[in-house]
């Protein structure tokens, strides 16, 4: 398995999230965030395998599974699966709550978030994630502080929105 070897060949044994994937019940990838350097080909292979593995699991089963050398922590929210890969020594439960806090952030920002919000505003989903997690580690766990950062950015955006009309928006 050259794939995981390349993850393990990482120069230091540090614990952080390796990647986070959001995908739908139909297996469509909605968001992907990689915290370790991997080639596009490897990313696609991991995604394919993992989506298949997680979708095959029944409800009521436990939220953790061993997959290759990694631990997978996942949780389903409505039609979306949130799935994180962590390392052997990492804390599964706190990762589960990382997922939940991210869902809360999305929910608060979009106002009862649904899959469509994430599809149409994928860039926002990435921005929120970057404020919350950076390099696979929690950067800011306060909901208020994360949303404040994002809303400030939106404010800057709206100022621009008023001054420049959206005439070029039709294409």
């Amino acid at each position: 398995m050259p794939l995981i070897t390349s993850i393990c060949a990482f120069p230091l044994t540090t614990h952080c999230m390796q990647f986070m994937l959001l995908f739908s019940r139909q297996g469509k990838l909605r968001l992907q965030k990689w915290y370790v350097p991997l080639s596009d080909k490897e990313k696609k292979k991991i995604t394919r395998e993992l989506v298949q593995t997680v979708l095959a699991r029944k409800p009521k089963m436990c939220s953790f599974l061993e997959w290759r050398d990694l631990k997978i922590v996942y949780k389903r929210y409505a039609s979306l699966y949130f799935c994180c890969a962590i390392e052997d020594q990492d804390n599964e439960l706190i990762t589960l709550e990382i997922i939940h806090r991210y869902v809360e952030l999305l929910d608060k920002y979009f106002g009862s978030v649904c899959e469509l919000d994430i599809i149409f505003n994928f860039e926002k989903a990435y921005f929120i994630l970057d404020e919350f997690l950076l390099g696979g580690e929690a950067q800011e766990t306060s909901k208020k502080n994360v949303l404040k950062a994002i809303e400030q950015a939106d404010l800057l955006q709206e100022v621009r929105h008023i001054t420049e009309s959206a005439w070029s928006d039709s294409v």
Partner: protein, 959 residues
Amino acid sequence: MPAVSKGDGMRGLAVFISDIRNCKSKEAEIKRINKELANIRSKFKGDKALDGYSKKKYVCKLLFIFLLGHDIDFGHMEAVNLLSSNKYTEKQIGYLFISVLVNSNSELIRLINNAIKNDLSSRNPTFMCLALHCIANVGSREMAEAFASEIPRILVAGDTMDSVKQSAALCLLRLYKTSPDLVLMGEWTSRVVHLLNDQHMGVVTAAISLITCLSQKNPDEFKTCVSLAVSRLSRIVSSASTDLQDYTYYFVPAPWLSCKLLRLLQCYPPPEDGAVKGRLVECLETILNKAQEPPKSKKVQHSNAKNAILFEAISLIIHYDSEPNLLVRACNQLGQFLQHRETNLRYLALESMCTLASSEFSHEAVKTHIETVINALKTERDVSVRQRAADLLYAMCDRSNAKQIVAEMLSYLETADYSIREEMVLKVAILAEKYAVDYSWYVDTILNLIRIAGDYVSEEVWYRVIQIVINRDDVQGYAAKTVFEALQAPACHENMVKVGGYILGEFGNLIAGDPRSSPLVQFNLLHSKFHLCSVPTRALLLSAYIKFINLFPETKSTIQEVLRSDSQIRNSDVELQQRAVEYLKLSSIASTDVLATVLEEMPPFPERESSILAKLKKKKGPGAVSVSELEEGKREGGELNGGSDRGADTAAMAASNASTPSPQADLLGLRSTAPVGSAAPSAGSLLVDVFSEAGPATPSAAVNDDGFLSSAPPSEDPAPPLSEADELLNKFVCKNNGVLFENQLLQIGIKSEYRQNLGRMYLFYGNKTSVQFASFTTTVSCPGDLQSHILYMQEHFVEPLVEGGAQVQQVLNIECLTDFCDAPLLNIKFRYGGALQNLTLKLPVTINKFFQPTEMASHDFFQRWKQLSQPQQEAQKIFKANHSMDTEVLKAKLLGLGTALLDNVDPNPENYVCAGVIQTKNQQVGCLLRLEPNAQAQVLSHTHTHTHTHTHTNLYSCL
């Protein structure tokens, strides 16, 4: 299309996404995408300069297309342009595009780095954060080179905004992970550690990840963080559930920070300062107490966050492994979780208990939960939970409960999921062997394994039962009786036939007295399975038959008839045909005495690490089986193999291996890749005629699929090996420790130990200067085809920084697969005062390191000497002694070579006679050596079963 709730919402983008979603087929989607790509390309190439907004929109569309899984080969330049926009959202999209589509295009990297540099110095905190996020997301070497020195400054500067500090800390962490050599904390260390005291919880949360990582690598420099972490933790743990405002999560104060603090403490031993330790123990007790309190909320988030801290605290308690009281409390708490209604908690409790089981303080406490765990194995609905239960049973097993646990695992195997059967089989086999008090139980267990899960019983498992039966006289009769009974079953697994064939072939005589298992009955029983078996099993059975002829002369005619039948002697499989022909011939022309010698009972197997354990370890990945467990396995293995008096046995076996063309050679190799009947034909005996058709067998090259062997060339070409290194190398032929290399900058010392075909080498790199070596890397490589002969594994990577006057250590594991000639190369690179130092040395790994001394009497020695006299088996050289001819010195050297020095063997007392067996993974090579000194010159003649001139070369240089 949903109403876009926030921001400006690029309508063109929304329209495009809708279009894609409305596509009915993959083809339609691709068509729509290609149309869009063409449109964007024309916009980017058009004469009209695009405004920032349009550029942003198109870049965002490209990003969307890429995330759908399509390749994007343009637009990077436009994204880079967006970085220098002074509009936040445009910048933001530019950075997002760069972060997702990392491109190693150096032109572009320079432009990106320029933009980042501008933003970092902009003093606009939102811009700074964007730039830092981008560095953290990309984390490339080029970025580390450009920014690694700047970011620590931002992190500790007094006027940096909190949000920027948070980003800077994690950005630095990412750079440290990619390029540790470029991130030098030096003067910043203490200020970074003091971030643990920061008033802003977010800053502490981010900084602690960085501190943890740095502490792992430089524990001494960062050790002041321990007391700071303890006091921070203590404040959090004792705070009321609302004190920390927004950092309280479902009534749990700062769960992420608490977990990270507990994780940081796991980088260190228990605090030495009594007050600090007392405070920490208090925290841990509080955490354990809280687990007993009624929950403050029914929400699962509350209990998850609370228990996340609890499990992290338990990890710390296990890490310290010094507080019996806490360990037992932890165990009791986990015991409660074993029956919790939440599957997640049951899973984690089983997992965590596995580590508790290995502590002497809590092992007994864990054992009290055996019934619950067995119940979990039987009733859990989720296979991953059952897997954990099986792991825990394995971990809690000891002599007192082995029989119960093995029985439960066996009965679980009958219905176990296919995905975990193989691992279960290995575990049962290991436990049965490790805790076998009476070996009849062991034999029963393994035969049961084969009966229940024969398909999952790998070669290692059935090889092992045969090794053990052969090594233990007291169980042979029982084993023969039991396999005989097991073979009575109308449909028994092929693995059972293999074990049965082998054991009856060796020990069938022990049950032949009973008329119900008379020789002919035994033979007919075995032969009734013959036609249902695969070729390797049939080959094994044929060998069992010829062994029968020796054991029971009365079966000779029946067996000869079978061998003579067309289906054997004209079998289309060359191996079977050859065996039939040879065995038939052997049985007809060899005298009873010769037959008895050739087909003698197998000698005991040498002590070795249980191959099953090795397999389990490989299966579970490195780290899954602890070193101590392996070591224990080794010890136990030693017991099983019946003590340490191994030398003579090994030699006898090497000899029998060389002269008996039996399929048992497979077993010695313990490898599926070992060729059947790999023993080389020997010379100078009756057998040569019989077996001359076989031709010399070449040892198969070891298949190296472990991936441990580094084949990737280093980035800078390693220097050619030093010529003087050869001379240095010679010093190590007869000794294992010493200084391998020394110049004005660097000293390299070596300590090594060898056992069987395995070696471990400790390399000590000493910095002789007062200046730090940077980018210190070492690479071991095997020149030419050496890599198919030696397997090595670097256990520890050396740290990239070696301080002045400091010494760092590296451990190298070596395994000899087949005989070899060249030495592996060690390449060392480092920067000393800016200049790259690059040197390559030969590692003193020579074939004689794998020698095992063999004692033998004069008669035996010369008999073997004569047998091994074919040209390719013999070498002779006359050479001048380079050194003194002092008897004692010479003797010491010959012993240092690893062979046994035999006294009273050679009729001429002036001569030196040595014997030894070279242990390689694939085979064992017996070596006999004779040294005839005279006043002017020395004659050395030297013989063994395979040719390897390098052994001579080594020997000569040594003498």
